[in-house]
């Protein structure tokens, strides 16, 4: 029996995925579980595994193609077996079928093509999908009037959200607010895959406050020439916006700053790099700081927790998220059980996660289950800043740059010390000021005396 290879739905549910590259050629023999191809969603790249052992055949989509999830993209055949009779090259079957189908089922105009430019701008401003609007202009083009009529026909918001039972179940199970989810079903109905995507994004993404905003920059630049540029939110941007807004509105943030002397931690890292074997990569200060934070979390378990509905959920291990800035957005890959790892291993993991975050190659599980986050903007020259907590976590540490400062020594003589300002934001619903202060005091102790970690 020919086994179908379909475009899978990953934990992040998407309408479709784009094929990055085939890792196996047509006619090659594969084992069940072998990676066949790499695909990309709007968030991460993932490999699609062979569903069975056999010979790869009948590839229907090539690198660069965007394919709806669950669509067949190839087959795994037994030796000597032919492709299923109904299968044919995509050019012969899929394309005409799709076209015919579009004509049959979509009386409305395709976006862009049959829309006047005024209507297109108006539609974008009003958040209307022009493909849903029947056109009455010449050749069935959608006019501004059509969009106004369309908007007039939309029911007034009643405070009720249109959503399928499946979407409501997912919202109930994940604590998602369906009012925040944009539905693509009839009359804006939220469907299961949209709720699932929003729920996954809600737990996987969010993080620290300062976000590079090309939207504002381009708007400002453009306005000097008299025209505004509108950049629609990407899914990632929408998720960041939603999550951080909710965190800011729901979690009463209190912040605690400490200027910490980095001399000894820097010395530890320098010594580690002197001693490291030649086949080991450089040990980083970020890794050492992560290890120090994990040590503190071990001593203050309430900070290493999630806030639930009328409860705190304290985690037995410290899974520390490291915020990584991307071109447009950010990701927070998670180092699992950081307290159980040496700074060499932490250096390697953080380096690897950051690199793959920028390449869009993180797996969903590498973004999940964080219990605490660190956001470091020191390398960008920021002295100190505060970060928004990444829910359901209850705390985040914002790390500024390390500067050389004159401080009085024991004899009140000025000495130069590398000083870093760290700012802890905690959710006051779960954590009180004294707890946060003790955490920061311990962080200062362990950074200034890292040998404490081996006690």
């Amino acid at each position: 029996m020919a086994k179908e290879v379909i475009m899978p739905k990953f934990g992040f549910t998407q309408e479709d995925s784009q094929i990055v590259e085939w890792l196996v050629k047509e006619g090659d023999t594969v084992e069940a579980g072998d990676p066949l191809l790499e695909v990309t969603t709007d968030k991460v790249n993932m490999e699609v595994e062979a569903p069975a052992s056999g010979i790869l055949a009948g590839i229907r989509a090539v690198a660069g193609d965007t394919v709806p999830v669950t669509q067949i993209i190839a087959y795994i055949l037994a030796p000597g077996e032919a492709l299923p009779a109904y299968d044919a090259p995509p050019s012969a079957v899929s394309a005409p079928a799709t076209t015919a189908n579009a004509e049959e089922t979509a009386p409305a105009s395709p976006a862009g093509v049959g829309t006047t430019s005024v209507a297109a701008r108006f539609a974008a401003a009003m958040g209307v999908d022009t493909s849903q609007v029947p056109g009455t202009g010449p050749g069935g083009r959608v006019t501004k009037q059509d969009i106004e009529d369309f908007l007039a026909r939309q029911p007034q918001p009643s405070g009720k959200v249109r959503a399928t039972p499946a979407a409501r179940r997912i919202a109930r199970e994940t604590g998602l607010d369906l009012a925040d989810v944009k539905g693509s079903g009839p009359r804006g109905r939220v469907q299961a895959h949209e709720a699932a995507a929003a729920a996954t994004a809600m737990t996987a993404f969010p993080t620290a406050a300062p976000i590079a905003t090309p939207i504002i920059e381009s708007s400002a630049a453009a306005s000097s020439r008299g025209e505004l540029v509108r950049v629609p939110f990407t899914n990632m941007r929408r998720t960041i916006a939603r999550t951080l807004q909710r965190s800011m509105q729901e979690a009463p943030h209190i912040t605690f700053q400490a200027d910490i002397d980095m001399t000894n931690l820097q010395a530890l890292v320098a010594r580690a790099n002197e001693l490291r074997p030649s086949d080991m990569e450089t040990v980083t200060l970020t890794a050492a700081l992560t290890r120090a934070v994990a040590w503190c979390l071990g001593r203050h378990p309430t900070i290493n927790s999630h806030i639930g509905d009328d409860e705190m959920i304290i985690w037995p291990v410290a899974n520390i998220g490291i915020a990584v800035a991307l071109e447009d957005g950010l990701l927070v890959p998670v180092v699992k059980d950081a307290g159980a790892k040496g700074i060499g291993q932490l250096s390697d993991e953080i380096r690897d996660l950051s690199r793959r975050a920028r390449q869009g190659k993180l797996r969903p599980d590498e973004l999940a289950d964080g219990t605490f986050s660190i956001s470091n903007l020191g390398m960008m020259g920021i002295d100190r800043f505060t970060a928004i907590i990444n829910p359901p976590q209850v705390a985040i540490l914002a790390v500024g740059r390390t500067t050389r400062m004159y401080l009085p020594d024991d004899q009140d003589q000025p000495v130069v010390r590398p000083i870093c300002t760290m700012t802890l934001s905690v959710d006051h619903r779960a954590i009180d000021g004294a707890t946060a202060a003790r955490f920061m005091a311990d962080l200062r102790r362990v950074v200034q005396a890292p040998e404490l970690m081996v006690l």
């Binding site: 709806p68 669950t70 299968d87 899929s94 399928t164 499946a166 179940r169 009839p186 469907q191």
Partner: protein
């Protein structure tokens, strides 16, 4: 592989049971010398004689009544109504007598009878010879209602129906009589009240009865070329209904389409949709549950109009595609 037509499979079931059990006899209009309007009983008169293959006057009330009386005295009658349309004349006997006796006598009497009848349109037989009235009987507790969709099921279900101690309304389909399929020679049974997952698929559950099962299968093959995979479930017995596989399937796919030939209003589809919506599958529904059924009209005599009065393959393809794409 041994192939028989649907009509031959039914005949084989009757013959094998009649050979094995002398209590079984057949009764109906023109089923003896003539062999039946659709030749289901052809040759049985010659083999078993006039006492066990009984031709009756044109009285459906008499056929049903004779079956009930014989069953009460320990016989196992299998009656035939020439066209399902005329079972309307048997309704008092079936609804008030056959369905009630076991209850009203506290289980001391049973009515182990089968009443076979062909339903459905597609033969140009017009409004009085094309009815699909199965849901009339579904509404009556005490009657079992069976609708085989393939030669294999036809034989296995008829044997089970004959062996059941309750009155069974056995609804065949005129257009299926000549369709062929694998039928084992031995006497096998397809249990009553056991739905059949005819085709597995991940995208959309189609619950279809009788001839709509094969139409749905053909539709599924077409949609598979577009990457849409239908899961098709044939309840086989409409009452008592085996709803578990249907509910499980809808939980898997999140979308359901019910397809039957009988008119939509008051049809069995309403029952199926209700079962789905009432069940734990509710929380998994990702679109309205839809019905594709016969138009609410008498079957027209004009062949074109007749064709468009009931679901055809292309209608199932279009409806399933739209439901899958989120058009509803």
């Amino acid at each position: 592989m041994r192939e028989l037509t649907y009509a031959e499979a039914l005949r084989e079931a009757l013959r094998q049971k009649m050979v094995a059990d002398e209590r079984i006899f057949l009764i109906g209009e023109d089923i003896g010398v003539y062999g039946g309007a659709f030749a289901v009983t052809a040759g049985l008169f010659k083999e078993f004689g006039a006492e066990r293959v009984i031709d009756t006057p044109i009285s459906e009330a008499a056929i049903a009544g004779a079956c009930i009386g014989a069953a009460l005295t320990g016989m196992l009658p299998v009656g035939e109504i020439q066209f399902m349309d005329f079972v309307t004349l048997s309704m008092e006997q079936l609804v008030l007598q056959a369905a009630k006796i076991r209850f009203m006598f506290g289980g001391k009497a049973t009515v182990p009878m089968v009443l076979r009848m062909p339903g459905g349109s597609g033969t140009g037989a017009a409004a009085q010879h094309s009815e699909s009235l199965e849901n009339w009987f579904v509404h009556v507790p005490g009657l079992k209602v069976v609708m085989p969709s393939s030669p294999y099921d036809a034989k296995g279900l008829l044997i089970s129906a004959i062996e059941d101690e309750n009155p069974v309304i056995f609804v065949e389909h005129k257009l299926l009589y000549r369709t062929k399929g694998h039928v084992p020679e031995e006497m096998y049974r397809v249990p009553l009240s056991q739905a059949n997952v005819v085709r597995e698929g991940r995208d959309l559950t189609v619950v279809a009865t009788s001839i709509m099962v094969s139409r749905a299968l053909e539709a599924a093959e077409r949609l598979a070329q577009e990457g849409i995979e239908l899961e098709i479930i044939d309840p086989r017995t409409l009452n008592p209904l085996d709803e578990k596989p249907i509910v499980e399937s809808v939980i898997k796919t999140g979308k359901a389409l019910v397809v039957h030939e009988a008119v939509k209003t008051g049809g069995f589809g309403g029952e199926l949709v209700s079962r789905i919506v009432e069940s734990e599958a509710f929380d998994y529904l990702d679109a309205p549950v839809r019905r594709l059924a016969g138009l609410d009209i008498p079957i027209p005599y004009n062949r074109n109009l007749e064709y468009h009065a009931v679901p055809q393959i292309e209608n199932i393809v279009e409806e399933a595609r739209k439901l899958h794409q989120g058009a509803y």
